[in-house]
């Protein structure tokens, strides 16, 4: 009764008369498996942690970016860039070669960072960062161990999320400035920086500011960019599979975001002249309390 003994004769012999619980002949094999599975799990855990940290830092980054005060932005965000860079470097060695696609757990962090990166890029240059640039950016942050891969999926899903940030940004800007962010990024940075002083003389500004809200019909402003984005994202065919499911989920949210900006602008156009600066219908007035506390 022991054909199985034949495969591991040497080990078997010393335990020949054994009852149960003697060492299983498969032990050496399983010990090998254990070592490799442990390695795999360690890698996976490092990546999950990095993905979370990148997500958290990216979210904070977006929050600072969202306040229309770009001058402080770069300074305040330096720490988050650093965190993210550290995390990418930390896991870079774990996702090389064969393991490049082994740990999809990184996608959460990648998407979130993509959102922050594209938003940042937009505020600086008013253009959409390309996939190749974004991938190169992550690669350059990954350090000497090799690049962490940013997949086209990460990119696309990150861009969907960025639409939400653009929406928040435009609505906050409309609420505080009484107009849609538009024009050259430098000009925009200036108006935003002027803001704190404006707020002291809140009521006095009303008349002055109202004519300024007219130029929101410039050929290019944040809304036309949002619409262009929406158009591209809707044209995009994600195919089946996971990307398809994810994209369909995010597409609805994305459309709503563009709608919200359009509605807010409508409100501003119809009633804008009757309202004091800082008042916008149908949106959260998260800016308002802050202003009053000055």
């Amino acid at each position: 009764m022991g054909p199985k003994r034949s495969r591991d004769g040497a080990m078997k012999d010393e335990k020949s008369g054994k009852p149960e619980q003697a060492a299983s002949p498969f032990m050496p094999m399983f010990e090998g498996f254990r070592a490799e599975l442990d390695e795999h799990h360690d890698r996976r855990e490092r990546i999950i942690k990095a993905s979370r940290d990148i997500t958290a830092a990216s979210k904070k980054m977006v929050r600072t970016l969202g306040q229309p005060v770009p001058a402080f932005v770069t300074k305040g965000n330096a720490q988050y860039w650093e965190i993210i860079e550290n995390q990418y470097q930390h896991i870079a060695a774990d996702v090389q070669g064969l393991n490049a696609f082994r740990y999809p757990q990184i996608t959460g962090g990648n998407q979130e960072f993509m959102e922050a990166l594209s938003f940042h890029h937009y505020l600086e240059s008013q253009t959409l960062i390309s996939y190749d640039d974004a991938r190169a950016r992550v690669a350059s942050m990954s350090g000497s161990a090799g690049a962490v891969l940013l997949t086209p999926e990460d990119y696309i899903l990150g861009i969907f999320d960025m639409v939400g940030e653009l929406m928040r940004f435009s609505i906050t800007a409309m609420a505080t400035n009484g107009k849609l962010p538009a024009g050259q990024p430098k000009k925009e940075a200036k108006t935003s920086q002027d803001l704190p002083q404006d707020q002291d003389a809140d009521t006095m500004d009303v008349d002055e500011q109202t004519p300024a809200s007219k130029p929101s019909e410039e050929p290019r402003n944040i809304l036309s960019d949002l619409r262009a984005l929406r158009l591209q994202l809707e044209m995009f065919e994600p195919g089946g599979g996971k990307l398809g499911a994810d994209v369909r989920k995010k597409a609805d949210v994305m459309r709503e975001c563009v709608d919200k900006v359009e509605k807010a602008l409508y409100g501003l156009t119809v009633r804008g002249t009757e309202r004091p600066k800082g008042w916008v219908p149908d949106v959260r007035e998260d800016r308002r309390p802050e202003v009053e506390s000055y």
Partner: protein, 240 residues
């Protein structure tokens, strides 16, 4: 207002679309092969399931009958390996992992029944193919680490092993029904040995963990069979 905006370089989305379309094409190609493998797996398990109702002495006929479907599966896994090796392994492996596991399980069961060492005489049960031996049977690499090509992973092997244990648990009972009181003892030891192996693994909360948690119930099931046999003095004497 939504005039062609200077914001988006149209090439960005064109490039992405191309990439995604390429992946879809790869998926379609793989899907055909995987479906073929699935069908062949069903054939293997169909033939091998006759082992549950075949007396020990007649096992060779079952093994012979299974040869063709096993050959087919080996060939299909070869095709899969060829197609899949053109891509990063882990990008698509979730597509076929299930089917490969089923094929592994079929071959493990076949080898356990004696198929691997069959030389025309009596079939000898109880052999466990190692991961490397499975790779040799299937003619594909196993547990690759520095090459990004198709291979059989440790996880796939272990998952197939848990399925083998389930199959053997069933066989232990059915052997008794056929009047065979020896194989349940063999299975009992085998299942315990496998279980002991699984117990030293540090598993995380994943499918392998769930499957290996189920092993203790299989161990108990087989123990119950042995208990029933010994209670009735049906256990063949050692050293017969």
């Amino acid at each position: 207002m939504s005039a062609p905006s200077g914001m988006i370089d149209p090439a960005i989305f064109e490039g992405l679309q191309t990439k995604v379309d390429e992946d879809t094409a790869v998926r379609d190609e793989l899907k055909d092969i995987i479906q073929a493998l699935e069908k062949q797996n069903r054939n293997i398990s169909f033939v091998l399931s006759r082992a549950h109702s075949t007396p020990y002495a007649d096992l060779p006929s079952v093994l012979k009958a299974s040869e063709e479907s096993i050959q087919n599966a080996i060939e299909t896994v070869g095709n899969l390996a060829q197609a899949a090796s053109k891509q990063p392994y882990y990008k698509f492996n979730s597509m076929w992992s299930r089917q490969v596991q089923d094929a592994l399980q079929g071959i493990l069961f076949w080898a356990w029944l004696g198929g691997k060492d069959y030389n025309g005489n009596e079939a000898k049960c109880g052999r466990l193919l190692t991961l490397e031996e499975l790779g040799e049977v299937l003619k594909v690499p196993t547990n690759l680490k520095d090459k990004d090509e198709f291979h059989i992973t440790i996880e796939e092997y272990l998952l197939a092993l848990t399925s083998l244990v389930e199959e053997l648990t069933r066989l232990a009972r059915n052997a008794v029904t056929l009047g065979d009181y020896e194989r349940p003892l063999l299975i009992n030891q085998f299942v315990k040995d496998v279980f002991a192996g699984f117990q030293i693994l540090n598993l995380k909360n994943d499918i392998l963990r769930r499957k290996s948690d189920g092993l203790k119930y299989r161990v108990k099931d087989v123990e119950d069979v042995v208990y029933d046999l010994s209670l009735r003095n049906l256990v063949p004497k050692k050293g017969e």
